[in-house]
Amino acid sequence: MKNHIVLFAALISFGINTFLQAQKKSDINAVAYVQKIVKIVEQRNSDKEVWAGAKIATPLPDGGQVKTGAKSLAIVKFLEGSLLRVRENSILNIYGKKEGKKVISNTYIDKGAVQFEVQKQGDDEFRFTTPTAVAAIRGTDGLIFCDTTVTRVYLENGELYIESTTDPTKNGKIVGGEKISVDQDGNIVVAALTDEDKIIIDKAKLQTTKKIIIKTAHGDVEVEYYTSDQK
């Protein structure tokens, strides 16, 4: 009996130890974290087939993916400080690697919209890859949205270099206050941000949610909505 207890205790200890080791390894490899979740946000690592509900502070390793549902929002913060607001119906793939002292953070956006605030830190570089374009940015903020046919970037501040994935000889550069689109044929169009574009950017930054519940004798109604943020 005593031997069984000792064996059982040893197994438990081994199990806990293995779990902690795995957890530690996962944290060490984290490139970014899920900082905020609104409504439906799922996450999976590169070695997983199945999507699982994301939780706040979930570490996202190299190759991790985040998917948002309708009216949903995921805020992803990179270890170097850059922040992405992944808006509804989007899929974001996260990659990160070190080249010497330089950290290269890359994201692949299958579809959807991502508002970004990318920190400028030394030689570090941040890239967005979409089905039609690759954008390299340093210390800037704006909004990128894409589907399989076109990528659009609205840039509020800083600079952005972008090239077509189908024909890298086709490329362009924009500065704050401009927007650029790259379609599947590599056609690039640059224009100034319009008033409507700026409103779209501002709305993409909203992350505070509120609820109002109207209680009546015939039923209750609950409305949840995004509202202005106050820093």
Binding site: L206, I214, E222
Partner: protein, 359 residues
């Protein structure tokens, strides 16, 4: 010798940490929800004692000679370029925590310099409600002009809200001459509301022209700060009768640093019927609540058609419902109106609408 070096190093380290800890830092804490702000609060330069507290300035440590440069920028429609509404610099003062209404009024927080764009302030006040983007920036300097710290608050106010509008009567509705409910949306900071109404002959003159012809039947009746009133009980210059068409407007009087300004609602027309009249019985048995009708429009794809009907036909009235927020805290009617306006103007920002019917 080694020990002396070690002690010197420790002392230098303590001194460095201490100096760093003493460098004053400023932080700005927004107190008011700017979407519900009395806009005259932005007229900081006029040194009014009844200014609202817009923000608190926290400076630590206290008691160090310093001065503040501050500015407020405003983007009218979010998209236009930002314009500077107000810039100021205080005289040198001993650092301490204070509220925005102490600026230029407390003896130790007097202004050294200020620049005001009065045209912009006029424009903000004429809008009746703050919309667009507001940025408040404060920078702290040492008495020698050395930059110490900065804090700012960047607030996006997306709801292009109406200024003032009449909820009841609804356009072309009919009312008993003895019971005419008039209800309107509140305007934050309104000193009082004035009501003007007059009869008019359809086809002969426009409702707006009728309001300004002769002496209106209700001529700028002062409703105080109420947002609803029974028009039948209001003092009139002459009587009105069943069968007459009436046009009414509500004016919100707001203050702009001692000067008063009026914001007008759009005119609403309705018809009077004699008590017990045929038209009365057919049209006033159900009196829709305008705000519940607006709510129904916001909820239309999320609730049952039966519930929608009750919202629209007057079965459910604003006065009968209980409204709470996510923390189960009561929401006032005024706040509900603002939220309703926001939801109407920003439907894509609604995350979810859930309906739980009651048996």
């Amino acid at each position: 010798m080694k020990r002396t070096h070690f002690l010197f190093f420790i002392l230098m380290a303590i001194l460095t940490i201490n100096l760093k800890a003493q460098a004053p830092r400023i932080s700005l804490v927004l107190l008011a929800d700017l979407s519900s702000l009395d806009l005259s609060a932005f007229a900081l330069e006029r040194n009014l004692s009844n200014q609202q507290k817009i923000f608190q300035v926290v400076i630590q440590p206290e008691g160090i000679n310093a001065y503040i440069e501050g500015k407020i920028d405003w983007q009218a429609s979010i998209n236009s370029s930002a314009s500077e509404v107000f810039r100021f610099q205080t005289k040198i003062f001993k650092t301490r925590n204070f509220f925005s209404d102490e600026l230029a009024s407390s003896s130790d927080l007097l202004l050294e310099d200020k620049t005001v764009d009065n045209d912009l302030i006029e424009e903000i006040i004429e809008r009746g409600k703050l919309t667009g983007k507001v940025k408040i920036t404060l920078r702290l300097f040492s008495e020698n002009g050395q930059f110490l710290s900065e804090s700012y608050s960047d607030i996006v106010l997306l709801n292009p809200s109406p200024t003032i509008s009449i909820n009841l009567p609804q356009e072309d509705s009919q009312f008993d001459v003895g019971n005419i409910p008039l209800q309107w949306t509140p305007v934050n900071g309104a000193l009082r509301y004035l009501i003007k109404a007059n009869t008019y002959s359809e086809g002969a003159e426009s409702p707006t022209a009728a309001l300004h012809s002769g002496t209106p039947i209700i001529n700028d009746f002062n409703a105080g700060t109420l947002t609803s009133i029974n028009l039948a009980t209001v003092t009139k210059t002459r009587e009105w009768y069943g069968g007459q068409k009436v046009v009414v407007i509500v004016k919100a009087v707001i203050s702009e640093s001692g000067r008063e300004k009026e914001l007008n609602s759009e005119p609403v027309t309705f018809e009077l019927v004699q008590p017990g009249g045929a038209a009365l019985t057919s049209k006033t048995t159900l009196k829709p609540d305008a705000n519940m009708v607006r709510l129904a429009d916001v909820l239309q794809d999320a609730v049952s058609s039966e519930f929608l009907k009750k919202l629209k036909d007057g079965t459910i009235k604003l006065s009968d419902v209980q409204i709470v927020d996510e923390n189960n805290q009561p929401v006032s009617s005024d706040s509900f109106m603002l939220i309703l306006s926001f939801l109407e103007a920003n439907n894509p920002l609604i995350i979810s609408k859930t309906f739980i019917p009651k048996p």
